[in-house]
Symmetry: C2
Subunit: 269 residues, 2 copies
């Protein structure tokens, strides 16, 4: 079983890509909706929440964990990999596949990274890009209003276009590739195409799914999809449909209070 973890609904784009790429695997999605959004939180808080969620999923018996959240990957990937190693769970993030896809698409000019405040300040994308392609200039731009716009379903028209112009208009003519470094952003791809004509927009959901499938193989029998959330089942189904294409079902509410010992994992370290 593969666990797919996000702070909320955005990771459903990754789940959807995984399900298409490897329909013969069981997928268990966990949206930490009681603590969403991770994008404005401090690194230590994101690490703590992520370890809490991971320890729950490990206890549920997953053998693979996909961190379908850019902010959680940015801050918590090393901690989650260390914890995963101790219990035999393989851990994938969305950043490395996104960087690979961006470098494959890039020809000239800069590569832009668009993300939450946490993802941009965390610098994991920048670091990975610099390691892989030290000479490619990088533009890293936080776009804080994109998530609330998408969650409200306001993904086209004058206001979203003006907000996109405000954040990324200055990149026009200077970049040829932009990494959508937040799982919500593919939902406003249309607006971004208008503001950044000709720019290749890299959605890491598909490249992450490909990386996971290459590592695990196709699987044997038709897989199942299940969903768990730490708050509101109804809101998750309503907003989640925009990301998944159909209402997530079955969705179960789980109680996931934080561990008293911040970094303790029940299994292992």
């Amino acid at each position: 079983m593969i666990g797919v973890f996000d702070s909320g609904v955005g990771g459903l784009t990754v789940l959807s890509a995984l399900h298409k790429a490897m329909p013969n695997h069981d997928l268990l999605y966990l949206g930490d909706t009681a603590r969403v959004p991770y994008g404005t939180r401090s690194p230590i808080t994101v690490v703590r929440y992520s370890l809490r969620v991971a320890s729950y999923l490990y206890e549920e018996g997953i053998r693979t964990l996909v961190i379908a959240c850019n902010t959680a990957t940015t801050h918590a990937l090393p901690a989650l990999q260390a914890a995963g190693d101790s219990v035999g769970v393989r851990v994938f993030g969305v950043i490395e596949p996104g960087v690979d896809a961006a470098l494959a698409a890039h020809i000239k000019g800069s590569i832009a990274i668009l993300g939450t405040e946490g993802t941009i300040l965390g610098g994991a994308y920048q670091e990975k890009l610099r390691t892989r392609a030290p000479t490619v200039p990088i533009e890293a731009v936080p776009c804080p209003l994109f998530v609330p716009l998408v969650e409200e379903g306001w993904t086209g028209g004058v206001v979203p276009t003006q907000i996109a112009e405000h954040y990324v208009g200055h990149l026009r003519g200077r970049i040829d590739t932009a990494i959508l470094g937040c799982t919500h952003y593919p939902a406003i791809e249309g607006v971004l195409r208008e503001v950044l004509p000709g720019v290749k927009l890299v959605d890491s959901a598909v490249s992450t799914a490909t990386a996971v499938r290459d590592a695990l193989g196709p699987g044997d029998e038709p897989g199942t999809l299940r969903f768990r959330v730490t708050d509101h089942v109804e809101r998750f189904q309503r907003v989640g449909e925009r990301f998944l294409g159909f209402p997530p079902d079955p969705v179960e509410w789980i109680d996931l209070p934080e561990a008293r010992e911040p970094f303790a994992l029940k299994n292992g370290q």
Copy 2:
């Protein structure tokens, strides 16, 4: 000592009004920034988080609690009052003073309530208004993008005005009073005045401060201001300055993991 509790930075508008109205009282502000925003969470989760914060403040020795958050007042006021009764703490919310002020300002037409999704769906403002003035028509409008706009400091210009027009433009000519039912909204008062000319905008911070002062008296000696947050001290100081007029100081980070027993309070019930 008076405890002032908000999900994040917005309650600093209430703190500021309290400090002006009663400078001779010690004020301890707690922003639950590790779990902000409350506005999109389910009622049960808001109750749970609020009780956790209150139990911490009770242990710190407060004798009065001001819930400086509309969503927390909407969902958790009865639970917090019950818990406060059991330990001798008097509890004030922002809704009743806001409703009183709106009814004092109202002459004809409808009264509008602008708030987060949670505050509007929770219905506490509507219920209180209906009880006090059964014949006054009510327009209750969720404005989800106002909080992220204000947190980003984007409080004037074309985009905020168009967003305000989108949410409340249809109220023009139909209301004479609007309750700013979220502590962030006074920061975009200028935009709202443009979109709703002539409408009286009721900021419950001032009316709440007046109600608390009337109940507690002026106090004896110059009071102190202290701040505690459950995440990022730096972000709280940076964003908080917009609400308080000066950077909050001293700010202390506290660890406030959720109780394992959701509704247990250490003191009392």
